[in-house]
Amino acid sequence: MEDKVILLDFWSSSYAMRVRIALEEKGIQYEAREQNLVDKSPLLVDMNPIHKMIPVLIHNGKPTCESLVIVEYIDQVWNDRSPLLPSDPYQRSQARFWADYIDKKIYTNGKKLWREKGEKQEEVKREFIAGLRALEGELGEKVYFGGERIGFVDVALVPISSWFYSFEKCGNFSIEKECPKIVAWVKRCMQKKSVSKSLPDPQKIYGYVLQLKQKLGID
């Protein structure tokens, strides 16, 4: 029986990009369905009644929600190729720890960075940079967080790089200057088709951010 895989998606969502990368890494055929987040489809509301958010992975009719939960699910179901999580329980716990850290320190601050101004923005920038620096420490001299191949932490983090240009313009700083190792790691990841196919053009993200700022009345 053939697998039917649908991804309820939104082009600029870093969370959705994580799932796209995981599906690409595993070579899974899937249908991406771009969602309207203002006027949510009955399918989205039916498949994610609790949060009504994307991404949602629908595998043979059954929904899984929350990006990192979905990535682990994909890794477990299609476990015969491109493993994303380590097999050793301790290393697995460390990978989960850093993915959780990325959610708490990078993604959460990223969301605030382009919306804030003045001292509040400076505070968010500081936390964001400190978060990336801690991740640089974890990366160390490795090619990827996953070692020789991309893994769970790489998949969790790399999507937000498509927003770096927007953060830099809105926050008036250079991420490369502050965290050169992370930027070098991003460039390495982008050489992989699974990543470059899954991330949008940073200029498009910036255009979108400008639109959102106008709509929200943020100057």
């Binding site: 059954k62 899984t64 929350e66 682990e72 477990q76 697995r92 716990s93 801690a134």
Partner: protein, 219 residues
């Protein structure tokens, strides 16, 4: 080789309780170390330099931080007894989803109940009951979230039951009339020694909350 398991914890932390319950379910012998959170031990700072928080599980000298990550680790290492996560990837994803829901909703909203007053407190109470009702929906007719025996979601949620009396007293409301199925589930869990030995007396938790309120100048 003898296993050395240490848990850095704080008696009233629902997050610490999760790990205590998981270790008890698995019959793992461990050393419990109470931390003074105003004067954190060098060991805590060394073992969790990123967040400097409890709980930290230390297994043969290696630290695992973040309660749900530690619970998953315990489940994977001591896998021959009392499985907490289901073996089926889809059911496992659903368990992770609900544990994530509990993390996102219960602690923060519960905290608002005892740290705010007036309209803000009323809104928090409403949100809290709504979240509990969604959990009741997920429980359905099952004795436990894990089915016939306690599982990951039960372990994630039951610690907060020790804080219900504090929430109810501070918020001047009663949870049982709103969520009788959930309260029945909680009492069922408390009949298990792994749970009853891991949860503090709700009265003590309430007295602790009063001390905190005084310290933070909340009346």
């Amino acid at each position: 080789m003898a296993e050395e398991v240490i848990l850095l914890d704080f008696w009233s932390s629902p997050f610490g309780m999760r790990v205590r319950i998981a270790l008890a379910e698995k019959g793992v012998k461990y050393e419990y170390r109470e931390e003074d959170l105003r004067n954190k031990s060098p060991l805590l700072l060394q073992m969790n330099p990123v967040h400097k928080k409890i709980p930290v599980l230390i297994h043969n000298g290696k630290p695992i931080c973040e309660s749900l990550i530690a619970v998953q680790y315990v489940d994977e290492v001591w896998k021959d007894k009392s499985p907490l996560l289901p073996s089926d990837p889809y059911l496992r994803a659903q368990a992770r989803f609900w544990a994530d829901f509990i993390d996102k909703k219960i602690y923060d909203i519960g905290r608002k109940i005892w740290t705010t007053k007036g309209d803000e407190q009323e809104a928090a109470k409403k949100e809290f009951i709504e979240a509990l009702k969604l959990l009741e929906g997920e429980l359905g007719n099952k004795p436990y979230f894990g089915g016939e025996s306690m599982g990951y979601v039960d372990v994630a949620l039951i610690p907060f039951y020790s804080w219900f009396y504090a929430y109810e007293t501070c918020g001047n409301f009663s949870i049982e009339p709103e969520c009788p199925v959930l309260i029945a589930w909680a009492k069922r869990c408390l009949q298990k020694e792994s749970v009853s030995k891991s949860l503090p007396d709700p009265q003590k938790v309430y007295e602790f909350v009063l001390v905190l309120k005084k310290k933070f100048g909340i009346e």
